[in-house]
């Protein structure tokens, strides 16, 4: 087992993160951007419907801030915080293998650990930027439709919302970076994990600690669906933060060690 090849170095990690970031924005097909753009389109649609003032339109959507809360709960928190990192993290290495560009990276004077960690950080940064950027635009659209009346109600929750999106990006990206390394049908397994991750959050005992979503609920309790996730006896925000951080680091350590010791043919 080669552990020295897994050891990361700061400047090398930064260089690899820059590579991942630069390549993503220059790529022609960007699934993660499409996913992140979806709620913005929904926000535009809601704003349009509000302006059209259709008869029989659900009154809950009359206030932009309420629509935004629902959008966060149902699309960002339940879906995108999982699927955007899935689109980004799973291909960190496999995309290079399939594109046959991995040899160009493996012959550089940086350890494989630095390369993978850098690419992970780059992907997490992209995920965080997409999710937060998308949420910011959705907020502007929905609150703007009301003349920014509901800003005061949104602001107290905003830090927790943004924090949960960023922390979720890191944790899920680490999970999918490892999955992309070890599994052949990683995308299919990723979808299965989506179901399992949500389901085991409700199981009694220690097993639910394996669920990322279980911890994320604690970070942004207002984002959790009332009556469903809130019924869980979730850990405190600080506990959840440390659990997710440790879990992320463990997943990354395993992924880096595997990557450092694998033959690429």
């Amino acid at each position: 087992m080669n552990l020295s090849g897994a050891r990361p170095r700061g400047p090398d990690v930064l260089a690899a993160a820059t590579l991942e970031w630069s390549l993503y924005w220059r790529r022609r097909v960007r699934l993660a951007t499409v996913l992140a753009a979806a709620p913005v389109l929904v926000a535009f649609l809601i704003a349009l419907l509000k302006n059209l003032d259709l008869p029989g339109f659900d009154p809950i959507l009359v206030r932009g801030v309420d629509a935004l809360t629902l959008l966060f709960r149902w699309i960002y928190f339940l879906g995108l915080v999982f699927f955007v990192p899935l689109a980004l993290g799973i291909g960190l290495v496999s995309r290079e293998v399939e594109g046959k560009t991995l040899p160009l990276l493996l012959v550089r004077p940086l350890s494989r650990g630095s390369l993978l960690l850098g690419k992970f950080l780059g992907a997490s940064a992209i995920s965080g930027a997409l999710l937060c950027g998308s949420y910011a635009v959705s907020s502007l659209v929905l609150l703007g439709a009301d003349g920014f009346d509901g800003v005061g109600e949104l602001l107290p929750n905003l830090p927790a919302y943004v924090f949960s999106l960023c922390l979720g990006s890191l944790a899920y990206c680490a999970l999918f970076a490892l999955l992309g390394l070890v599994a052949r049908y990683a995308v299919v397994i990723g979808f299965a994990i989506f179901l399992v991750d949500s389901f085991i959050a409700f199981l009694p005992g220690l097993i639910r600690n394996l669920s990322v979503r279980y911890h994320l609920v604690s970070v942004a309790p207002d984002a959790a669906l009332p009556g469903i996730f809130q019924a869980l006896s979730v850990p405190s925000g600080v506990e959840a933060f440390f659990s997710l951080s440790i879990g992320t680091l463990l997943l990354l350590a395993v992924a880096m060690t595997l990557f450092a010791n694998r033959n690429y043919v």
Binding site: L19, R27, R108
Partner: protein, 306 residues
């Protein structure tokens, strides 16, 4: 001291052997790594570049072990065989990112990228993405990333594939000059004459084994003792065949569907070619084409392995 030392290296892909007890040393200058497809050249290149670890044996470059030794790659440049690059980037952007991974940033990265692109014959200011390059241009860009650090050791895996004749000549000249400057260049190819233009030092691989190594002329001398087939095209092939069969050099003649061609088997190529030249001038037979049918490396290997 040898720059590259391959010591009893074997590698298996499951039950399939990729390299079998290969041993050889490479010294400064250009050395050709030759072998037909499937000989084990790419396996060896991947081991030499730390992409995979050999199942058995040892590999040292510049006195250091390769596997898990990323610092060594400041002194090694590698041009992979596969025609795959970041197609969204321009040549300059690609090199800047690769240089960044090597710890070179800012103005210095820009300067190095421009210099090396110009060196391989690409316009540094070309705004076209690599995906829109011709295959020859992509080969040049790939070569540029191998040369960008001016490494002491260059491992070039089929770098001439897909290049046009002009690009091929420029690249051959460039590689030969790098060898003369004291770089250690190991260049893999399955085309013997390409490598011959750069160096006389070769390592021949076949079925994962080192079949021969040393000076190409010495290896060819060995082949001269074996029968070779040559296609001759002329106006009167029957008359030519009769003339040739009188000589001791020709062991067999067969006629082809082409009424103006015949295939001759010879065991003594040098003497045979001298005789053909003489016949072509003295007997007015008008030989219009002389084409060795088994002068490619595959045939050379067939001779060597019997």
């Amino acid at each position: 001291m040898a720059t590259i030392q391959v010591q009893s290296v074997s590698h298996w892909y499951g039950e399939v052997i990729g390299l079998s007890n290969a041993s050889f040393d490479v010294e400064p200058g250009v050395t050709g790594l030759l072998g037909p497809n499937g000989a084990g050249k790419s396996t060896l290149m991947r081991i030499l570049t730390g992409q995979m670890r050999q199942s058995r044996g040892g590999v040292r470059i510049l006195g250091e072990s390769v596997w898990g030794n990323p610092d060594l790659f400041r002194r090694i440049g590698y041009c992979p065989e596969l025609d795959s690059m970041y197609t969204e980037l321009t040549g300059r952007q690609f090199l800047r990112l690769m240089l960044r991974l090597c710890g070179v940033r800012g103005m210095e990265a820009d300067r190095k990228a421009s210099d090396v692109l110009a060196r391989v014959g690409l316009d540094p200011d070309l705004r076209k993405p690599i995906g829109a390059y011709s295959k020859g241009m992509r080969q040049r860009a790939k070569l540029a990333q191998a040369l960008m650090l001016e490494a002491e050791v260059l491992l070039l895996d089929e770098p001439l594939n897909g290049m046009d004749p002009v690009g091929r000549k420029d690249t051959v000249d460039l590689i030969a000059s790098l060898g003369q400057q004291g770089h250690t260049v190991l260049i893999s190819s399955h085309i013997l004459h390409e490598v011959e233009q750069m160096t006389a030092k070769i390592v021949l691989l076949h079925h994962g084994r080192v079949l021969a190594q040393g000076n190409v002329h010495e290896i060819r001398d060995h082949i001269e003792d074996q029968a070779r087939s040559v296609l001759l095209r002329c106006v009167e092939p029957q008359r030519l065949a009769a003339q040739l069969l009188q000589s001791g050099e020709v062991t067999g003649v067969r006629f082809t569907r082409d009424p103006n061609a015949l295939v001759v088997e010879t065991a003594s190529a040098d003497a045979f070619f001298q005789r053909v030249t003489a016949l072509g001038f003295s007997d007015g037979i008008e030989i219009t084409e002389v084409q060795p049918l088994d002068d490619d490396l595959q045939s050379v290997f067939q001779y060597l392995v019997g």
